[in-house]
Amino acid sequence: MRANEIKDLIIKGDAAGTAWGVEEMLAAGLAVDDIIQGILVSAMNVVGERFREGQIFVPEMLIAARAMKAGLKILEPLILQAGRKYLGKVVIGTVKGDLHDIGKNLVGTMLQGAGWDVVDLGVDVAPEKFLKAVKEQKPAAIGLSALLSTTMGSMKTVLGLLEQEGLRSQVKVLVGGAPVSEKYATEIGADGYAPDAGTAVHVFARYAS
């Protein structure tokens, strides 16, 4: 199987085919990093692009992300063995009072594929929990997600809390979600904004160590 064929399997969301293809690549002697960057990440970049252009939609993004994860899973033991070098650590979560996680999960999967060490705090995450994670995990960046206009205010609370604790300069804060805009991100003092998961990967890339 050729690299392009495996990329197509990921784009189509064929998890079993992707896993099989990755095993073949390994057997053929391709390096782990080359498989990740040249096939898995490259395929997800295409998926992100097609999503931004309105050629595919959320279910197609999800099955592609699942296929990519199936490929990553095959590589995991080798990654652990070799001690993978991450781009850095990212903490993500959906803010307090909000249980919507589809966008946040997609961002997590895409970041993971792109080479970030991702800590996912889940949904309905209190500002104090983000603060604790920044203290303990020392991430390069945190990503806050909200789908409701009633919950997006919590993003500002997180930023205020980081400021109050003197941690704001140590971590970049990115925000996203349906009601959130670039303007809102600027107003609350966030470092960045992404309208979708594909863009989030590009924005987070600025903060890679």
């Binding site: 699942r66 589809i102 409701l148």
Partner: protein, 336 residues
């Protein structure tokens, strides 16, 4: 001209004193009258009192029974939390596996808890202001209800992994929503709004397979019971505008990410478009001048039957002068 006459005439494309103000009010209402959020979701008397106050003070033209997406989930037996002063949360999916599908019992709205509360709210609206205002009942559309019961990620994968099981679930949801809608119409609802937020995440093919046919059947049942139907799909629905017009809805809400002129043109001859300025950037954070500009832009883009609202719910912390500015912009529009 009262609100009921205004909406009826506008939908028929007849002259009106001003376009109807059809904003969706939920969490804003209890805050406005100083009641805890939880009471709004659990006690129809608070829902009715707060919405009546908001409608009167800000010149809204529809009294809505919309509150949160979890009335049906609760009555199906799901676990919903009601924080004292926050919106309801449903953190545990009731239908974790399709093996449990046979256990999912369709509730009787008259013997349920939360749908029964909504029905009582409509009866109270009818008594208090039924001759003056159109009363809008609310249900989840079947696809949205399936998501509420099973989880967003799960349903988004089910469309590929378990399409037949998903259709079985959708049939159950449809039946529950039809019963709930008909009960609300019998209680006095003039129109039934239905939310299908999750459907905006689907492309045209999947929307046509899993959302639209069930919306059509629900709307047909609403019409048969003698009420109008309003379809509300939050999010960017540009890719499915052409399909949404086939739903049969009399009013189709248009969220702010959609080009309103395109939506009005698409729905012409099918439904009244209702929209569509940005609820956060314009209504919550904008100035009265910016709001006037946004409202007039929508009216300029529309037809004689176009209705006006922010693309989605009026945010909780919207300044009162901004909500007043919507009403003033509608009143002062010079080109009706």
């Amino acid at each position: 001209m009262n609100s009921k006459e205004r909406l009826t005439r506008r939908l028929a494309g007849k002259p009106v004193d001003r376009a109807p103000n059809c904003n969706l009010i939920m969490a804003f209402a209890p805050l406005y009258i100083g009641k805890p959020q939880s009471q709004f979701y659990l006690d129809y008397k608070v829902l009715v009192e707060s919405n009546l106050r908001v409608a009167k003070d800000f010149d809204l033209d529809i009294l809505g029974a919309i509150s949160d997406p979890f009335r049906e989930v609760f009555d199906f037996g799901g676990k919903v939390e009601f924080p004292e002063d926050d919106i309801p949360l449903c953190s545990d999916n009731l239908l974790k596996s399709y093996e449990d599908l046979p256990k999912l019992q369709i509730f009787d709205p008259y013997r349920s808890t939360r749908m029964q509360d909504r029905i009582q709210g409509i009866e109270l609206y009818k008594r208090e202001a039924g001759s003056e205002y159109p009363i809008m009942g609310w249900v989840e559309a079947p696809f949205a209800e399936a998501v509420d019961l099973r989880g967003m990620n799960e349903i988004m994968l089910d469309v590929y992994d378990h399409p037949e099981k998903l259709h079985q679930l959708l049939e159950i949801c449809l039946e529950a929503e039809i019963r709930s809608a008909v009960a609300q119409i019998k209680a006095g609802a003039d129109l039934i709004g239905m939310g299908d937020a999750a459907a905006s995440l689907l492309g045209p093919d999947l929307f046509g397979a899993f959302a639209l046919p069930y919306e059509q059947r629900l709307i047909a049942a609403v019409h048969e019971a003698g009420a109008l139907a309003r379809l509300h799909i939050c999010g960017n629905t540009t890719a499915i505008l052409n399909l949404m017009k086939l739903s049969g809805a009399d009013i189709i809400d248009v969220d702010w990410k959609v080009n309103f002129k395109l939506a009005c043109e698409t729905y012409r001859g099918y439904a009244a478009a209702c929209g569509n300025f940005d609820p956060v950037a314009v209504v919550q954070q904008g100035t009265p001048a910016r709001i006037r500009e946004a409202v007039w832009k929508c009216l300029d883009a529309g037809d004689a039957n176009t209705l006006i609202m922010a693309g989605c719910e009026i945010p909780l912390s919207t300044p009162h002068e901004n909500l007043k500015a919507i009403a003033e912009a509608l009143r002062d529009y010079p080109r009706y």
